[in-house]
Amino acid sequence: MSTRGSAIFDGGRIVPLLILIAVVLALAGAAEFAPTVVQRRITQGLINLVAVVGLYVFVGNSGVLSFGNVAFMAIGAYVSALLTMPAAAKGVFLPDLPAFLAATEWPGLAGALAGGAAAALVALVAGFPLMRLSGISASIATFAILVVSYVVLGNWTSVTGGQNSLMGLPIYVGLWTAAGWAVAAIVVAFLHQESRSGLLLRASREDEVAAAASGVHMVSHRLAAFVISAFVSGIAGVLLAHFLGTVRVETFYLDLTFLIIAMLVIGGMRSLTGAVAGAIVITLLTELMRLAEIGVTVGDMTIAAPGGLGDALLALLMLLIILFRPNGIAGGREISWPFGPATPTTETQPRKPQ
């Protein structure tokens, strides 16, 4: 095969994708036999995985940190909620809803795609001016997106219910729905990073000036990554909403932002493997910490870790990773067969700015 489009099937470039999909499916398969509580935790972990992969599509490929992706999750969650909630529930929680929204009862999948599309549209409109900014200014701008969406969603009472929760969403996200979307997110992220636009963006991440000198129009590739990233994040928000059955604006602010960024940083934000590894490892760790906070009962005594220890440890772990292993668990590489020849990689070590 020699056409460009099939290049990813040559030379084992597709191997990481296959392994990552296998890992997700294996995790979901194992959860199938676990108790309900653990199964729910793993489902939530898979939803987080979609969110981390969504963040990775922009952050990993562009090298610009984004604080805004949780805003896209919120947009996805609210749009899907408004389109899929039963009309009766909307009558209770949102009496002032415009008539055309009050009557719609879309099926789950259509609502999910609409949620992702709405997030992508917002990213396109906001990103068009903001993606021209240089690294740190762009990060600040994404932070502005987060705050604006938080304030608007939290106070636009007639449409979002403001500070109150929206309840009565159809709960259709279970283990395999989450696993299916996780696989889809991984495929999208992989195809993007192997695409022409993704590779050019990665080139500009390594050396902006050299890439520009080679004719790479960084801004448009950044914008493309930002829009795809927002779509995947929007889907993650939709999944979270229809997993919990409620939407609250408080869910989508700094704590979730921190969790998703921590997962990406700890896993390693320079490769898709890192994003997936971070989501899985941190999900398992937080689950262990949760058990530790509940404690073990020995006779009459309960030995438990203090509440909130998990959060503090997560922040500490993130800090230690930045200090001692800046490329995270994955070290900036994609996963490969454990015993086979190493997969070719486009990675290089990041250079310190001059």
Binding site: I140, A141, V151, D311, A315, M318, L319, K352
Partner: protein
């Protein structure tokens, strides 16, 4: 009507002063390290808890405790987290400061719980005084006074002392300053100490105003003040102070002038302004010198 206008004005200036001090603390660190210090919120928080610890003994002890606590924490995070990362790219520094900020906040929540605690600190200042027919809160006047004194003192330090000169040189071109024999560790540690001091002042004024201490108390202040740092011009110290002041005044004026149904969206307007400033005038209102990225 006139009295009301003056009240709003005093309100605006005192809030503006508070934000100016906060923005200056953030701007100092950005100036010397190109680091956006999210953990500034935790410096304010720790100073607040120092006030909680000592306010029963005496107000002076509480203020002293706040200063010592915030300065020590600032020096500690500089030494342990940010010094090893000096010279790392801005995105790494940004993530690091985000992690430090969350680590301190979550540790505090683990240790003392997340519920707010009441503090009866300087409550005598909260009473109203009447000056020339206008009812004002004494605390607001004190806030204005403290802000002015600290801004003048910081300016004096930066303009007239050797260390201040070194700090401005480092802010303008860190590498050149190092080549010319400025000791980076000392300059950066001093910047952190001053930012701790400013955080302590903000914490004392803020606690006196709200009467509450809680693990997330600095967050809102820092997020808004950060807007000021960007609008004023990242890396420019007069810009930070002026931007912070402007944002403080703007929040109060928006509160007073916006129709009630739009008031709740106040912060959204502020952050829209940030995005607009970044796109239209990325160097801010008072641009910093020497910030242009070199190749």
């Amino acid at each position: 009507m006139m009295g009301q206008a003056i009240q709003v004005l005093v309100d605006a200036v005192s809030v503006g002063g508070l934000y100016a001090l906060t923005a200056l603390g953030i701007g100092l660190i950005f100036g010397v390290m190109r680091l956006i210090n999210f953990a500034h919120a935790q410096l304010i928080m720790i100073a607040g808890y120092a006030v909680l610890l000592f306010f029963a003994q005496s107000a002076a002890l509480a203020v002293l405790g706040a200063v010592v606590g915030a300065v020590l924490l600032a020096l500690l995070i500089e030494r342990t987290a940010f010094r090893p990362l000096r010279g790392a790219d801005p995105a790494t520094l940004l993530i690091a400061s985000f992690a430090v900020s969350f680590f301190i906040e979550k540790t505090m929540i683990m240790l003392v719980g997340s519920r707010p605690k009441g503090v009866d600190f300087l409550s005598a200042l909260a009473r109203q005084v009447e000056i020339a027919g206008v009812r004002l809160q004494l605390l607001q006047l004190v806030t204005i006074l403290v802000s002015v004194v600290l801004l003048v003192a910081t300016t004096w330090f930066l303009k007239s002392t050797r260390l201040g000169l070194e700090m401005r040189a480092a802010a303008e071109n860190f590498r050149m300053a190092e080549v010319l024999g400025i000791r980076a560790n000392r300059v950066i540690a001093t910047a952190f100490a001053i930012s701790g001091l400013l955080a302590a002042a903000v914490a004392c004024l803020f606690v006196a105003q709200t009467g509450l201490v809680q693990p997330r108390m600095g967050l809102q202040l820092v997020i808004i003040a950060f807007v000021g740092t960007v609008i004023g011009g990242l890396g420019s110290l007069p810009g930070a102070a002026f931007g912070g002041f402007l944002v403080g005044v703007a929040t109060i004026l928006l509160q007073a002038l916006l129709p009630p149904e739009l008031r709740v969206f106040r912060e959204a307007f502020l952050f829209l302004a940030v995005a607009v400033v970044l796109v239209v005038r990325p160097q801010g209102l008072i641009p910093a010198r020497g910030l242009k990225e070199r190749i």
